[in-house]
């Protein structure tokens, strides 16, 4: 019977989210200016659902102080209070130290997503600068960078980050740096491949003859043309970075307590699952929902960019 109710729940959730996505698309088409509304009108329901979820997360992260009923780190009650316990004071109950679960979920949006975005941005900065440089300068610089990236990519990312975290210790700064460096190898590959197609074009030759410097050549001539694939990749890489930071935090090696973070919240409250309580699934679900949403939007963008109509 438990299985059937689960199926019914899943069906209900899908129906409700499809309805929400439809409403959001209708509102967005009406509210947005002409050109963006046109793109929105053709968006599939999955993509508009993704956009809606991303907006909700941004809202929760920005206004965390206003929405959360309790402070991030304050112990406000007994440990493991049930949901709606004590006259509905704690909407989702309390965690292993008696902190309000709902408030920590909201603050987690700010911490976890903020750190993931910072890491992805850093990875893109390192990866695309080096990638564009390698493609533009070519020669030995290209060879050295490419071979170095080949070797770094031959080591599995999670294992490599575990090794580096052992050596440099676990703090948020090292976490961001380690993941960003490891992830920048993937960005490097893409940026270099895209830029190699651009540097052979005539207008680059003309710009070189005009006497443009290397920096201006990269930022003003090559980057604008390489932007579209890099932006699409940003969404995908964000998902990878977000998932690997969550995995490390879940393993107790990422974002450290008492900072509210979804990965470590799952770990802290994991024992509850054996008593049939879904509390640990909530932060895990929050991670899953955001990555699904970003993937839906990226899927739509890639579909639009590739011009596939099938």
């Amino acid at each position: 019977m438990g299985f059937l109710t689960a199926i019914a729940w899943i069906a209900a959730v899908i129906a409700v989210s499809a309805g929400l996505a439809w409403c959001f698309r209708a509102v967005a088409v009406a509210a947005l200016p002409q050109t963006m509304a046109k793109a929105m009108r053709t968006a599939p329901l999955t993509a508009s659902f993704g956009l809606l979820i991303i907006l909700l997360y941004i809202f929760a992260a920005v206004f965390a102080d206003v929405i959360a009923p309790f402070p991030e780190r304050a112990v406000v009650g007994a440990e493991y209070l049930p949901r709606e316990g004590l006259d509905g004071q704690f909407i989702l109950g309390t965690d292993n130290l008696g902190r309000d679960m709902f408030s920590r979920l909201i603050y987690g949006a700010r911490n976890t997503v903020g750190i993931a975005i910072a890491t992805t941005a850093l990875a893109f900065l390192i990866g695309s600068v080096l990638g564009l440089l390698a493609a533009t300068v070519g020669g030995w610089l290209d060879q050295v960078l490419s071979r170095a990236v080949d070797v770094l990519m031959a080591i599995p990312a999670l294992i490599f980050s575990l090794l580096l975290l052992t050596i440099f210790g676990t703090s948020i700064t090292t976490l961001i740096l380690v993941i960003a460096v490891i992830d920048s190898t993937r960005v490097f590959r893409l940026a270099r491949a895209v830029a190699q197609g651009i540097v052979v074009m005539d207008y680059i030759e003309a710009a070189k003859l005009r006497g443009e410097g290397l920096w201006r050549l990269i930022t003003r001539e090559i980057l604008p043309n390489a932007m579209a694939p890099l932006v699409a990749e940003f969404g995908l890489r964000f998902c990878f970075v977000f998932l690997s930071i969550s995995a490390l935090s879940f393993l107790g090696l990422g974002i450290q307590p008492p900072t509210a973070d979804w990965g470590s919240m799952v770990r802290d409250n994991a024992t509850l699952i054996t008593f049939g309580d879904i509390t640990p699934l909530l932060p895990a679900g929050a991670i899953a929902l955001l990555t699904v949403a970003v993937n839906f939007v990226v899927d739509w963008m890639l579909h639009r960019a590739s011009g596939l109509k099938e």
């Binding site: 299985f3 031959a154 294992i159 575990l162 994991a270 699934l281 895990a284 899927d299 099938e310």
Partner: protein
Amino acid sequence: MPETTQGRIIMSHVWKMVAQRLALGLLTLFVISLIIFGAVELLPGDLAQSVLGQAATPETLAAFRRELGLDLPAHERYLSWLGGVLQGDFGNSLANRRPIADLIAVRFSNTLFLALYAAAISVPLSLVLGILAALWRNSIYDRAVNVATLSSISFPEFFVAYILIFYIAQAGIFPSIANVSPDTSLGERLYRTFLPAITLTLVVTAHMMRMTRAAIINLLASPYIEMARLKGLSPGRIILRHALPNALAPIINVIALNLAYLITGVVVVEVVFVYPGLGQLMVDSVAKRDITVVQASALIFAAAFVTLNLIADVLSTLSNPRLVHRR
């Protein structure tokens, strides 16, 4: 006899290519071992100091350095470490001074067992699902599978694992803790590790299935498929007999990539299900900053990863007649 001579030339060409790949793989492994060893040299400050803490006396520090050979220059230490590793001696754990090889041997075979178990379920499953999705593309089935796989790619492993524990282990069908020992029988072992294996299956199937579907659909636009369709062949036969053999190279690649992912992806799953594998040992050692054990586990994981990628490379070359019969 011209035909056999030609055959011999082709074979020697293939072996040359395989040998080249093997040499490249060995070189990669060598550089990885350099990186893994060298990473410790980057340690801010001194290894002995950071392991023993600020309170350590100069005598204990000196004794510790001598025990680990830290008083020797780096290249000598690297050579003796690499020499030991090649003979199966990984040195001693910093935390409990036991030989690492003893700690690792059983755990690595447990990890391999789990990864193979998951592969045995996920590879046939994703091939069948992918071929069906290509066969019935743009149908309700295809769209449902598309959304479901896109979602499951995005799920963190521990989310899938806890959902399974919540619904299946709570119902008492399968155990939520996968404790196995070397003398557990195979049937019992398969039963106890069922949930971790299913978790891994759910995580990797999506990717393999999507690639299978994409590889086949990519081919469906080519003229020879058009011809087969005009001949009046059934869609199932076109896909199985005409499209699939040519789609094999990308499919093999993605399968090997996912097997490599399985070997490393087990880390999180092992921790959730308290499975005594290499991944859990590595995570524990990272928390204890037991650097020698982390080095050894990282090297083993990286070696398995490189080997699988190498096998994929060779197999996908062999499956492509255009590469084998290159003029």
